[in-house]
Symmetry: C2
Subunit: 164 residues, 2 copies
């Protein structure tokens, strides 16, 4: 199989069907995330999965509330600062972790949207959830069975990305 | 196909055969990277590919010089600060970009090692290469056909990663 296909076909999905994602599938998505590489294998990522009312209560902290409300479940991705050895490298590791989850979800026919704007209210989200200071929210991933195809993907041509 | 297999089987490879990776394959690796998601689709990643003497000259900037020397080629991954809208989110996007490249390379039978320690001498690397200040080195990826299997992967169990 060509892994370039899922990499290129994955899209941000913002509208979802009502169907529920089985817990076992969510666990597999998280497992995929956990197999990302990290510096010194420090695995700085931590996860929280919310659904139903607990999920909907998070919508107040972002202008993209409709995506959170439409999603079946959300994964909140945190950095464990106690596990961190380099903020910068740990952020990249968490990006790799998230990409694993998006790709795995896509291959299971599950749509996802990586929400970053909510970080503007990171402190409020953490206070709402009672999440301790040694954890830092880095992303919220909305998940559900897609009710749209997603936008056409657009990327810069490779020659625009090369230096020299 | 199950995308969990390449995600879980990929390993850091530090010893490489002498065989050369064709340019077309390197371009596909970069293309895979370029299809990562980024906030506002700002695509903050930029690439430089070095081989032979130009590659070996980079080895002086890291204590992992043997990996760079053993590799067939290296990809230097930069953030384009002119394209950046959030340093933190752009680092995560670059992490996603790198993970795409590692996974694609793995599926092509190419070993890779994500080098982060070299960032300690980021300024010296950029000065050596004459890379302008609007670019920031974020990682070096060593690539080559594997001459070792890589270490056994170890990850925390999912219940250690869940909050609450």
């Amino acid at each position: 199989m060509d892994i370039l296909e899922p990499i290129k076909q994955r899209r941000s999905i913002r509208k979802f069907k009502k169907d529920s994602i089985p817990t076992e599938v969510i666990d597999k998505i998280l497992e995929a995330g956990s197999w990302a590489p990290s510096g010194l294998n420090n695995q700085p990522w931590r996860f929280m999965v919310l659904e139903a009312n607990e999920k909907d209560a998070i919508a107040q902290f972002t202008k993209y509330s409709s995506i959170i409300k439409a999603a079946d479940k959300i994964i909140l991705v945190f950095m464990d600062k106690d596990a961190s050895y380099s903020y910068e490298k740990d952020l990249m590791a968490i990006g790799a972790c998230i990409q694993n989850m998006l790709l795995y979800a896509h291959k299971q026919g599950i749509g996802s949207c990586w929400l970053g704007e909510i970080l503007n209210q990171r402190k409020e989200v953490q206070k709402h959830l009672g999440i301790l200071e040694n954890l830092e929210l880095e992303a919220v991933i909305a998940l559900g069975y897609p009710a749209e195809k997603g936008e056409k993907g657009e990327r810069l041509a490779l020659n625009k990305l090369m230096i020299k």
